[in-house]
């Protein structure tokens, strides 16, 4: 039997690997989205884009940090206890930062109305 709280992963850790990859995919998406938002908003919306760009950049940083925190366990070692525990504060930070970035873009687009 496994001790309570230990990661019992009968599939050799594939769930952890999928989750780590999901974090990395999200981080990559943030970097692309922040770059695209800056590139496309800048000519149209002037100064307001800096708010959106700052928020998007901060969001990308938070998600990249969270992605790095979710490390892939080495394949020959068992998943360490607690490796499967989601981290509430990190998820909350990603949520708030994403919402702030989205609202920033919304404000930029609304204020850039011709």
């Amino acid at each position: 039997m496994n001790a309570p709280g230990s990661a019992r992963l009968d599939d050799g850790g594939l769930q952890v690997e999928r989750t780590v990859l999901a974090w990395r995919r999200t981080a990559a998406a943030f970097v692309v989205a922040a770059a695209a938002a800056g590139r496309f908003l800048l000519p149209h919306h002037g100064g307001w884009v800096f708010l959106a760009a700052t928020l998007s950049g901060a969001t990308a940083l938070v998600v990249v940090a969270a992605a790095l925190r979710r490390r892939l366990p080495s394949s020959d070692a068992p998943a360490p206890p607690g490796s499967a525990r989601p981290s509430g504060p990190w998820l909350a930070a990603v949520t708030l930062a994403t919402a702030a970035g989205g609202l920033g873009v919304a404000v930029a687009v609304l204020h850039g109305a011709p």
Partner: protein, 123 residues
């Protein structure tokens, strides 16, 4: 009921209840959270792209469609967070899983966007 004897893991509203579920379910829940975050990004990016590419259509309708997309994108993180907490609580208590609340608004919003784009392009 929130237990007081367990070490504090935030949020207590989630981790203070029930017992740790099978890690695979928690990991799947975390991936669903991330999928909603990426959905938020895609919606915001679609709204920005719609304004940026300057489609030959009625400007008011294009603008309305872009704003609907961006507002849906700004709301999606709420589904990500509250969906994650509610699902994790249900897993810890062995209850049935809650339905995602934002599915209908996102579906309705995307339909509205499609209608706006069609009308704007045809006119």
């Amino acid at each position: 009921m929130v237990r007081r004897d367990v070490p504090a893991r935030w949020p207590r509203r989630v981790f203070g209840r029930g017992s740790d579920p099978d890690p695979r379910f928690s990991l799947a829940n975390e991936r669903t959270f991330l999928a909603w975050i990426r959905t938020s990004l895609a919606l915001v990016a679609a709204g920005v792209a719609l304004e940026a590419v300057n489609l030959p259509m009625v400007p008011g309708m294009r603008r309305a469609a872009a704003i609907v997309l961006i507002l849906l994108g700004a709301a999606a993180p709420a589904q990500a967070w509250f969906g994650w907490t509610r699902t994790e609580i249900a897993l810890r208590l062995g209850r049935s899983l809650p339905p995602p609340l934002l599915v209908v608004p996102v579906g309705a919003g995307l339909t509205l966007v499609a209608v706006l784009l069609l009308l704007g392009l045809v006119r």
